[in-house]
């Protein structure tokens, strides 16, 4: 259905960004806050009204062509938006969680002189993110895709006078651009094969297998950049240099899930490339494990949460990778609630400790900041799944889908059609994912216990205090959402709020047919609960309140090498630095010195000039104006001629 108001949803935050960016410095502070909050709230309300209207009837989709952006040759790119159940739900998450984080930011950033800049970037981010999910073609989506990357860059490097922070922002942008390179080529391939860049047009034309594989694979490269998956996840932990509410909004709840959204949106493409789906699931699984084990040894509270995000995003990719697009996106939504809550909680802690981020120097904070402690605990329950609230079911659904999937049964490892099949991949992912769930429970409870229980271990002149209501209110809302979000993911078929039911018919079906059943659901739930409690028990043994940080010491003593490697993030940054970064920069310098300066400019350009000059110099000797020498040369010449003509003949 064509409507005429969708453009308002991203436009309002864009106007807010323009106002705060251009005028924010000169107007009173309260104006900046009001404008920034009101535009996001209005977007939320419009999105909400639209969502209610649209979701009344299954299959309804609001569509709007704002204008023809550019059209050349056979390429036609509209600035077109569409609101369906998937993009509608995400609009609500972005503007809803976004609004809460804007509200929280008022308390968080109030004392910083750059507050107006901060809100301009934050508004701009919301606008770009809304365009990303609403965009009805790959190019419009790409605008949002790169736009959120820009805001991420600006906000990570928000305190730009610190070189390390500015570097972290730049690193994020460049790693993302490596992914975007894949995204771009993916667009080209799809346009080349279908003649369209809009989703409807691309869906209408079936693709040759090779084309689908390459397009899906390259777009997935983009997703590994934006959504911090192996091998491009390295920017996300560094991105914690930004203000904490930014980490909550951009690097946990919304932007980093864009890759998952993109794959779900392009489900019609990905089901045509089952091999790439398997790769997506595998990368997701490995990333989930990888992030979780590094998370066990981090002492910076934000780094723990960052690796946790990397890991949880991995789960989402498992979900979409096994063809259960609803499960991946459901976890996207529940994760947005509890991870935003965790990040904002960590922000409240850091705020209350005047900038301290090291959990070794925290402890016992539940006494000083009870709201933060309780909400943090609720969100930790949600992510670890020790009790069956939102995160438990959304994660379990993903793992159950992986275990039971039929999507890989017909895939072979080699081009030989009779070769070994990939059917074992689903159960393998299930096992590793379940182990990861246990590790998740361990590192999250470790983080919670070290932060809020035991004795306060910080310096004595720092007096921890609870944050103002403007910050604790969003914490409570998000904590409640983490609990009641469970209604989206309750495993009751035909439950009216069920996300699976709600998105029926929205996603394409993976080849291979409906999932089978290895284990009955009750058994997988049982396993999930046991694993979560085992992780908790491990954390409790090592880090129970009385022990304070003795747990880390014990950990270190038990496995010194492993622990040190984990503390150092498995040396991945160092390896990349030597293998890629330095090589390219040194190579560039070498190329400049040897090829540009020495060969092209030195030898060819200046060399030819010197050659001309040398010939000139030689000629000049004969023109030196010395008559005696002229006479001598003439005489010599005559003598030579005489010799040649007379004597030789």
């Amino acid at each position: 259905m064509e409507v005429g108001w969708l453009y308002l949803i991203p436009l309002l935050p864009l106007l807010g960004a323009a106002f705060n960016g251009l005028a924010g410095r000169w107007v009173p502070k309260s104006w900046v806050y009001t404008v920034a909050l009101v535009v996001v709230l209005l977007s939320f309300l419009i999105g909400f009204a639209g969502f209610v209207q649209m979701s009344g009837e299954e299959g309804t989709q609001f569509h709007e062509t704002v204008y023809t952006w550019f059209a050349v040759g056979s390429l036609h790119v509209d600035l077109a938006l569409s609101l369906d159940r998937l993009s509608g739900a995400l609009v609500l998450v972005i503007t809803g969680v976004g609004f809460l984080i804007h509200l929280y930011s008022v308390g968080y950033i109030d004392e910083d002189p750059g507050y107006w800049r901060y809100f301009a970037y934050l508004n701009l981010f919301v606008a770009a993110m809304l365009l990303l999910v609403l965009g009805d073609n790959l190019v419009a989506m790409f605008v949002g895709w790169e736009g959120v990357g820009l805001c991420s860059y600006l906000l990570i490097g928000f305190w730009f006078d610190d070189d390390a922070k500015a570097y972290a922002g730049r690193k994020a942008f460049i790693v993302n651009r490596i992914g975007d390179f894949g995204f771009l080529i993916g667009i080209f391939i799809l346009f080349n094969a279908t003649g369209h860049v809009d989703f409807a047009g691309m869906r209408a034309s079936p693709l040759p297998y090779a084309v689908a594989m390459w397009a899906a694979g390259l777009l997935f490269l983009g997703a590994t950049g934006k959504s911090a998956q192996l091998p491009l996840y390295i920017w996300l932990p560094d991105a914690m240099a930004g203000p904490t509410p930014v980490s909550a909004l951009i690097h946990a709840a919304t932007m980093v899930t864009a890759g998952v959204y993109m794959i779900a949106r392009l489900s019609f493409l990905y089901v045509q490339a089952p091999g790439i789906l398997a790769l997506v699931a595998l990368i997701g699984c490995l990333t989930a494990f990888w992030g979780a084990i590094i998370g066990t040894a981090q002492n910076d509270i934000k780094k723990v949460l960052a690796y946790s995000t990397v890991s949880q995003l991995g789960y989402m990719f498992i979900g979409v990778g096994v063809g259960a697009f609803f499960a991946g996106t459901a976890h996207l939504i529940t994760h947005a609630f509890f991870k935003a809550c965790l990040f904002l909680g960590s922000g409240a802690v850091i705020h209350g400790l005047h900038g301290e981020q090291d959990i070794a120097k925290m402890g016992g904070l539940k006494k000083y900041m009870p709201h933060t402690a309780i909400t943090f605990a609720i969100a930790t329950v949600a992510i670890t799944g020790v009790l069956p609230i939102s995160g438990f079911f959304s994660k379990d659904e993903i793992l159950a889908q992986a275990l039971n999937t039929s999507a890989f049964k017909f895939l072979t490892l080699t081009p030989d059609p009779t070769g070994p099949r990939l059917g074992f991949l689903g159960p393998l992912i299930y096992v590793l994912g379940t182990v990861t769930a246990g590790i998740t429970s361990f590192y999250m409870w470790r983080c919670y216990l070290l932060t809020f229980h035991g004795n306060y271990r910080g310096p004595e002149d720092v007096h921890p205090h609870e944050s103002p209501a403007v910050m604790t209110l969003p914490l409570w809302v998000l904590a409640i959402l983490s609990v009641v979000g469970v209604v989206l993911v309750l495993p009751i078929h035909d439950f009216p709020w069920s996300w699976e039911h709600f998105t029926d018919g929205l996603f394409a079906h993976a080849r291979g047919g409906a999932p089978g059943e290895y284990l009955p659901p009750l058994v997988t739930y049982g396993i999930a609960v046991v694993v979560a409690w085992v992780g908790f028990a491990g954390a409790w043994t090592l880090y129970k309140p009385a022990r304070n940080i003795a747990g880390d010491v014990a950990f270190e003593r038990a496995t010194p090498r492993l622990r040190r490697a984990l503390v150092n993030k498995l040396y991945v940054d160092e390896i990349y630095d030597v293998v890629v970064v330095r090589t390219v920069w040194r190579g560039a310098r070498l190329l400049w010195r040897v090829v540009d300066a020495a060969i092209i400019d030195g030898l060819l350009v200046n060399g030819s000039a010197q050659l001309v000059a040398a010939i000139g110099a030689l000629g000049r000797r004969f023109q030196n104006g010395n008559v005696q020498r002229y006479a001598a040369v003439t005489a010599l010449g005559v003598a030579a001629l005489v010799y040649l003509l007379l004597v030789r003949t």
């Binding site: 952006w69 059209a71 050349v72 570097y167 090779a210 594989m213 059609p417």
Partner: protein, 534 residues
């Protein structure tokens, strides 16, 4: 079209020259008066060029604002000018940059102001004339006339190594043009083939030259192409550029990057390719490959620089590599993208040189090692620099994205045939060139964001002293139109793309007449079919 536009175009061409004559008769020593006259002249020129834009009909095929008068009929050359959409875009770019250029070095140039003002104005006339000329002699006269004022700008008002840079610039470009002159004479002598008198008229020659034997076309194409390739510059003919840019005053750099480099690519679109279509089609993959080399190589060179201006100069090599890639692909998307990218590069690199000029006026150094933390002292300058940087790296929403995207997409789908490569097998040339060219998207971000961080972020270093002034009103006035262009073209590029549509299609139809018959490479032969398990 006839005289429909009246002498409007002539007026725009010669107004700056008129201003130069006025300056010539002004008393020496009145610096402000000279600069003021130059400024007023360039603003008036811009105002007169606005009706060109408004009255131009992009949907009409053929020359607009055409004017034709005999000059030396016995020799076959006349005064023949006119615009197509491509030339119009570049004329508008030139007249827009005119006042900005005059203002850019307002304080910096303090000696020989009179000569300086004259040089700028003569240069503007020469550049507009080059774009408007429809007679080969007229074209050549304007083309060479650009050289002298630019040589003087670098050689007289440049920095330490200005003489070396100026001579290098002059020799490089002059060597190229001489061969082109020979080719022009060849075309003239051949132009009586159809029975008429010999002529230098572009329109008449264009009707004949397409039918020349391939061998002749090749010689002529490369004679023209060499002149243009040096101007672009295409790798490996680029080494004059970093020197000239680095030594030139800000105004010279802006004109050099903003307009003069585009004369090379314009030459390919207007002369080398349509006049010798078969040779151009043959050469297209080679030119595309050189363009891609320019993108990657130029970007890597940027990463090795320690001098700010040199870095931006090398970034021009990369950006113009994109333009050449788009032209060589000869698909509608790519060629239109290339034309837009010419405008984009003029706007964004022009703005970069303008901003670097601002920095240099404040700190008197171009050495990156001295910079750091400037955003603390000059926040507005930093913000503007970041916006221009985003345009330069092609962020969606800015002008740069539209150009790069169209070029890369258009190259990807271009029916250029295949190369057989080791390991990869038979690979579509378009796909390969597009994929390699796309790495420029990554590399561009690498060097530009590095530059931004180096100069503006981090702790304050030597060059960032407290009390450095932020942007003045004059400086805002200069940069504001360029910022507006970045946003407007990025958000609503259709009016600009519309202008180039017909000339681009004509070019493609002429050079690759069978393009429509060739199937598009299905799904890109780059792809070795993976194990299809179905």
């Amino acid at each position: 079209m006839g005289f429909e536009g009246g002498p409007l175009l002539s007026l725009v061409i010669f107004l700056p020259l008129l201003g130069a004559v006025v300056v010539l008769f002004l008393p020496r020593g009145e610096g402000g008066l000279h600069k003021g006259t130059a400024l007023v002249t360039s603003i008036v020129t811009f105002l007169f060029s606005i009706p060109l834009w408004l009255r131009f009909k992009p949907q009409v095929r053929g020359w607009q604002f055409e004017q034709k008068a005999d000059w030396a009929p016995s020799l076959g050359f006349g005064y023949h000018i006119g615009l197509d959409g491509v030339a119009l875009l570049l004329v508008m770019l030139t007249t827009l940059l005119g006042p900005i250029v005059v203002l850019s070095s307002w304080k910096y140039i303090q000696d020989r102001v009179k000569e300086y003002s004259i040089a700028l104005l003569v240069l503007e006339t020469a550049m507009i004339g080059t774009l408007a000329a429809l007679d080969l002699v007229l074209f050549y006269v304007f083309w060479e006339a650009m050289l002298i004022p630019m040589y003087l700008l670098v050689g007289l008002w440049g920095s330490e190594r200005r003489i070396y840079a100026a001579v290098k610039f002059f020799l490089f470009t002059f060597v190229g043009s001489v061969l082109m002159l020979v080719a022009i004479f060849w075309l003239w002598s051949d132009s009586s083939r159809a029975g008429g008198a010999r002529t230098f008229d572009y329109v008449s020659i264009a009707q004949l030259s397409g039918a020349l034997p391939l061998q002749a076309q090749r010689w002529l194409f490369w004679a023209f192409a060499l002149a243009f390739a040096i101007k672009v510059p295409i790798w490996p003919l680029h080494t004059w550029l970093p020197d000239a840019h680095t030594e030139a005053p800000a105004s010279g750099s802006i004109l050099l990057a903003g307009v003069m480099l585009k004369m090379g690519t314009f030459g390919f679109i207007r002369y080398a390719m349509p006049l010798f279509p078969q040779a151009a089609l043959d050469a297209a993959p080679v030119i595309g490959a050189l363009g891609v080399t320019g993108i990657v190589y130029g970007s890597l060179m940027c990463m090795a620089q320690t001098d700010m201006k040199r870095l931006i100069a090398y970034s021009s090599v990369a950006h113009l590599g994109f333009v050449m890639l788009g032209l060589s692909a000869l698909s509608p998307e790519a060629v239109n993208g290339a034309v837009l990218q010419m405008v984009n590069h003029g706007v964004s690199t022009g703005a970069l040189f303008l901003l670097v000029g601002y920095l240099y006026e404040r700190t008197h150094t171009r050495d990156l090692a001295a910079y750091g933390g400037l955003a603390k002292v000059t926040p507005a300058l930093a913000a503007v620099f970041v916006v221009v940087t985003l345009s330069s790296i092609g962020l969606p929403g800015t002008n740069g994205f539209i150009g790069e995207f169209l070029i890369l997409l258009g190259t990807f789908v271009a029916p250029m045939g295949t190369w057989s490569l080791p390991l990869l097998g038979s690979v579509s040339k378009g796909v390969l060139l597009s994929v390699i060219g796309s790495t420029g998207v990554i590399l561009g971000a690498v060097y530009m964001l590095w530059l931004v961080q180096r100069v503006f972020f981090g702790p304050m270093r030597k060059a960032a002293t407290h009390g450095l002034p932020d942007l003045s009103i004059r400086e805002w006035l200069c940069v504001a139109p360029l910022l507006a262009a970045i946003i407007v073209i990025g958000a609503y590029p259709m009016p600009f793309l519309a202008a180039s549509q017909i000339p681009a299609n004509d070019l493609i139809a002429r050079v690759r007449p069978r393009a429509a018959l060739l199937p598009r490479p299905q799904g890109a032969q780059l792809m070795v079919p993976p194990g299809d398990a179905r």
